[in-house]
């Protein structure tokens, strides 16, 4: 009995590789090498990390991470390696693993990697670094380091637009916001959302809650759901979530509330990636942060030899942020709401509307 089981495993192990087998050949040193270090959440968070992963995969192969669907951009002919460090103290060795091997570009996902990247980038001045959502300053604390690109987004502008759509959709006059970790970056989403909503309906109420104050707040869908249900109890019928994995709890919460006459009674607004298809019919729209575009662009800059350190800011004007209307939510959002949002978009780009940046305060 025991022998049979052991034998089965060994045979399976020997047969299985016939389907897929990794090959280790000499590295093609002529290609641009890109290494990406994800944050603690890992690349399958369907949100922020996932968007960065889409960007580098697109640059590598011209496809989405599934390896088949085109990403509508040309492959850039790079060698791509990725690390999910899993623990904060593994981030530095991960970055150094790429730097030591002479990679051309090392991408760090998330502002939390900024202090580490500062140290590593100092040791490797000839290697390009990019950090999403963060800025790495030189030792004077003012000038950005020349070999580090900070990829930043005007989340408040995108949030303003989905706030308008939410206010136009709400029947109760109450909206909800569920943030992940209580940090200035997420306050920026919240503030923009509230301003957009108030622009449509000055008396609208926006309830807001945060999952927590530690890193764990990004990874607690249970709490995300509890907070959403509590907000729904108090009347919120559209909930905007900016909470990484925890946000998926809000999707569960609105689905649980169910539908009436074929239309959901409560809606959720997704974040970072397009999450419209996560719970079709319940997702009003998604405030996308085109991390994929930004990542693809920075890889392209390196490939084309025109990398620049410092701030790379992506706003409405460069389609770095925005909202998504697709086949999953076309019937949920009123044409009126889209018209007003588009109008506001133009005004923000032209400077007629100023959205408060909570991080700049």
């Amino acid at each position: 009995m025991k022998q049979t089981a052991a034998l089965t495993i060994i045979v399976l192990a020997l047969i299985a590789p016939a389907c897929r087998r990794a090959r280790y050949v000499e590295d093609d040193t002529s290609k641009v090498h890109v290494g990406i270090v994800f944050d603690i959440g890992g690349k399958d968070d369907r949100s922020f990390n996932a968007a960065a992963w889409r960007g580098v995969k697109c640059a590598e192969s011209g496809t989405l991470p599934d390896g088949k669907t085109s990403c509508d951009k040309p492959a850039l002919g790079i060698v791509l390696r990725d690390v999910e460090p899993g623990t904060p103290n593994s981030i530095e060795p991960a970055m150094r693993a790429f730097a030591e091997r002479g990679y051309d570009l090392v991408i760090g996902v998330g502002f939390a990697q900024a202090p580490i990247m500062q140290v590593v980038a100092r040791d490797y001045p000839d290697i390009h670094f990019a950090i999403i959502d963060g800025v790495v300053f030189a030792d004077d604390g003012k000038t950005p380091m020349p070999n580090v690109a900070g990829l930043l987004f005007k989340e408040h502008e995108g949030s303003y637009l989905v706030g308008m759509i939410a206010a136009k959709t709400s029947r109760t006059g109450t909206l909800g916001f569920v943030g992940g970790m209580d940090i200035p970056l997420i306050r920026r989403f919240e503030k923009g959302y509230e301003e957009g909503a108030k622009a449509v309906n000055p008396r609208i109420q926006v309830l807001q809650n945060y999952v927590g104050v530690t890193d764990a707040a990004w990874n607690n869908p249970g709490k995300g759901k509890e907070l959403s249900l509590a907000q729904m109890d108090r009347g919120a019928d559209v909930i905007f979530t900016a909470a990484g994995n925890s946000g998926l709890g809000a999707f569960d919460a609105v689905e649980q509330a169910g539908m009436q006459n074929g239309r959901a009674t409560h809606f959720v607004i997704g974040v970072d990636s397009n999450q419209n298809m996560v719970k079709p019919g319940f997702v009003l729209t998604s405030m996308v942060k085109r991390v994929d575009n930004a990542v693809y662009d920075i890889v392209k800059e390196v490939v084309e030899g025109r990398f620049k350190g410092g701030f790379h800011v992506y706003g409405l004007e460069s389609e770095g942020v925005g909202y998504v209307i697709d086949q999953y939510n076309r019937d949920l959002v009123s044409p009126d709401a889209i018209r007003e949002a588009e109008d506001a978009r133009k005004k923000i780009i032209s400077g007629q509307i100023k959205v408060t940046d909570a991080m700049a305060q």
Partner: protein, 353 residues
């Protein structure tokens, strides 16, 4: 002879785990040789591999010792995680608040703050058990949540640099930095965070050994753990031992903060612990609750942690999960080996001569 077997069996268990791990790698279609070359090669390369491996082992030695001491005293301390958070924050707090002091004073004070905070936090479930008989497992788990939330709150609202998006405290005074070993070891660059806390960890192992087996206090701790009724009969105050053992355990867990705050980031960083407190349980069990075993087990887990990064990055199909699988396999095989040894004796021959 028995000593040799004590060493040999865990070693065989580890080898078995690696063998099964190789089958798993083969199964997903990648090369076990390449995977282990990356795993072990990067963990034992000089200076980065060894430096980082020892750096990663440091907190695990502390928490492994913490759990081992508690287990020797008959207590299961699942709260090392909370104790080390509180302690790390206390260390940073002293390093920030008393920043005017010179190194000679500040370094010992920071260390003491962490040790005392860890001990005090661990003494709470000890007192609860001694006084009311409530189980330490439940109380230590509960206190983990409270500890994480408490230091999270303090960091967020009181000790954070304005405008810093990261959940971390302000930096500690430069006078509280402990030296990195790169300053003394030729060829070891200073950027590798291996620091004096590693030496402190080794020293702690020796101290724990002396405490447990060479002093009357250790005798009482072990007696209480072995058979509290007999210890009580021998004139040992069980209540006192429970609180004392928990406090020592917490003090050891608290030293993790010295490595992290004074030797690596030079500030309190929220979420810095990679479940060190929980991994410490596995380290203690693997190390047979003996300081030497704890060092060996901590090194093993550190090798897996250090080697996991390049395995994740530079293999084609293997993800970092292989490291988790290996960890699980090692624990499984060691547990199986212990059971095999216990069950292997014939009935009736069970211990009498």
């Amino acid at each position: 002879m028995t000593r040799l077997r004590e060493l040999l069996f865990p070693l065989i268990a580890v080898l078995c785990a690696f063998a099964v791990g190789a089958l798993v790698v083969l199964f997903i279609g990648d090369s076990p040789i390449e995977t282990y070359r990356l795993l072990l090669g990067s963990a034992f390369s000089w200076p980065d591999g060894i430096g980082y491996t020892l750096f990663f082992a440091t907190p695990l030695i502390f928490t492994g010792l913490a759990v081992a001491v508690a287990l020797r005293g008959g207590l299961l301390n699942i709260g090392a995680e909370g104790q080390l958070y509180i302690a790390a924050f206390a260390t940073a707090w002293v390093g920030i608040t008393l920043s005017n002091l010179p190194s000679a004073l500040l370094i010992p004070l920071c260390c003491l703050a962490g040790i005392a905070a860890g001990a005090a936090w661990a003494a709470i479930p000890g007192i609860l058990k001694a006084r009311f008989g409530s189980h330490e497992v439940i109380n230590t788990i509960m206190l983990n949540f409270i500890a994480v939330a408490l230091v999270g709150y303090l960091t967020q609202y009181h000790y954070r640099t304005a405008g810093d998006p990261i959940m971390e405290s302000a930096p500690i005074s430069a006078a509280a930095h402990i030296p990195r070993l790169g300053q003394f070891v030729p060829g070891l660059p200073a950027r590798i965070p291996l620091n004096a806390a590693f030496l402190l960890a080794l020293l702690s192992c020796w101290l724990v050994y002396v405490l447990l087996w060479k002093t009357k206090w250790g005798y009482e701790i072990r007696a209480t753990g072995q058979n509290p009724s007999a210890a009580e009969y021998g004139g040992v105050s069980i209540r006192k031992e429970i609180v004392l053992t928990m406090a020592i355990s917490g003090a050891l867990a608290g030293m993790v903060g010295i490595n992290e705050v004074m030797g690596y980031r030079y500030r309190y960083y929220d979420g810095f612990s990679d479940n060190y407190g929980f991994t410490g349980i596995a380290v203690a069990l693997l190390g047979r609750n003996h300081p030497v075993g704890v060092i060996a087990a901590a090194l093993l887990f550190a090798v897996l942690q250090r080697g996991g990064v390049p395995v994740d990055a530079f293999t084609q199909l293997v993800s970092k999960d292989i490291v988790l699988i290996l960890q699980a396999l090692v624990i499984l095989f060691v547990a199986a080996e212990a059971m095999f040894r216990r069950g292997g004796r014939g009935p009736g021959a069970g211990g009498r001569i």
